[in-house]
Symmetry: C2
Subunit: 223 residues, 2 copies
DNA sequence: CGCTATTTTAAACGCACGTTTAAACTGAAT
DNA sequence: ATTCAGTTTAAACGTGCGTTTAAAATAGCG
């Protein structure tokens, strides 16, 4: 009775587990964690309702598993590119933020709609469930955050720790909010401007914005 | 049997209605709309469970009522200051965004913790309940949005409509996300930097960030 | 007061949720 | 063929939700 089994188990189990993860991911991204029931998930995954509790233990553990699948794929790549940026003498903020683009976009090879799904999940996790996912991410993947802070500091050393703290959270807000409502926004943009905006071009649009925001002069100077 | 009564009704009714609105506002801000039950609200308001459905008709209408109470207070003030900014020959983006500060902060005279409560509610409304509140706000208070767009356009006429659209949504994201997690962030800041950060100083911090973001050069120039 | 309209109350309704149970099934090793 | 761990299944459990009901309490007014 090896409940909550890991990845070495039989193919049949893997298939069910992954069917659940795939369905949960799609539904969580669109309707949020609280807004998605296990019955919806198991129905879309075409597995039995009890399978979630059998394989994952609880809904909360399923949420963690969905996020971990992405973070375990993404974290090493992010650490690599951020360290690369830090090797330069004087990186620019645009370089720092642009470094995120490639690892994020490569999530599309990992899963269909991987990039937008992951960013939407990130957005959900920050507002749903009273921040337990923020705790989960910051404790499970501290290196990514540390390397990022180091890179920003190297690009803009005049920024004090407090200002850095706030501006990085503003940036997180920009990304996370934009992506969690990206579906609606892309629809509006499509109908208003008759242009097909992809998630990649959205990332391109947001980089100059956050780079300029973080680069804003300190101490009340005016723009 | 005048159900769903308006404001001309007796004092007793007003009292119950307002007790519900006050309790609902506080709980919605902290736990979100989906995360707050009518039983929590009526318990905190010290009224009967059925009072919500008697006075407001449904939970959804209660949510609208909570938001309307703020927007009806805020919208005229915002329209005034934005029109004032527009009267200048060439307003700066910092002036445009700074114009929001005073009306937002005056919500603290309207209700205790009015500013942070309202901004948190705004954040909840954009991610909870699949955007029905976004529809509600944009259709009920279109002038505020229009005047704001006009002011930004006057401050930065080179910005194309598409870029304006995205940058304003990035800005919305920055504000809304920051404020919806402001409680947690202010706690972290307090323990990390041993400084007591108020909502007012948070607004001061965010204005240069978003002003610089919106002011970022167009067409892929580097910072 | 007595009548009426309004508000408050306690209780229940039906429903959907996450979770648990125990039996049925599966497939490989003995 | 039997055994048995691992997996799937149908059914149920208890809980909490938004909402409804009908009776009781309250206020306004002749």
């Amino acid at each position: 009775m090896f409940k909550y089994c890991s990845n070495w188990v039989s193919d049949k189990c893997m298939s069910t587990k992954n069917k659940i993860l795939d369905a949960a991911e799609d539904l969580f991204a669109v309707k949020g964690f609280n807004g998605t029931s296990l019955r919806e998930i198991t129905s879309q995954a075409e597995v039995n309702l009890a399978a979630v509790n059998y394989h994952f233990g609880s809904k909360k553990e399923l949420i963690k598993a969905v996020m971990s699948r992405y973070m375990n794929e993404l974290a090493p790549n992010l650490e690599t590119v951020l360290l690369e940026v830090c090797e330069q003498d004087k990186p620019t903020l645009t370089q720092v933020f642009s470094a995120f683009a490639e690892p994020l976009l490569s999530l599309n090879d990992f899963r269909e709609n991987g990039t937008s799904n992951f960013l939407q999940l990130l957005g959900r996790g920050y507002t749903d469930s009273q921040g337990f996912l923020r705790w989960f991410l910051t404790t499970q993947y501290p290196n990514v955050i540390q390397y990022f802070v180091d890179a920003v500091h190297k690009a803009y050393p005049e920024l004090s720790a407090e200002e850095m703290f706030w501006r990085l959270h503003f940036t997180m807000g920009t990304i996370v909010f934009t992506m969690s409502s990206s579906e609606a926004l892309l629809d509006i943009a499509k109908s208003d401007f008759h242009q097909d905006v992809e998630i990649a071009s959205l990332i391109e649009q947001v980089i100059p914005y956050i780079a300029a925001g973080v680069a804003a002069p300190v101490g009340g100077a005016r723009t």
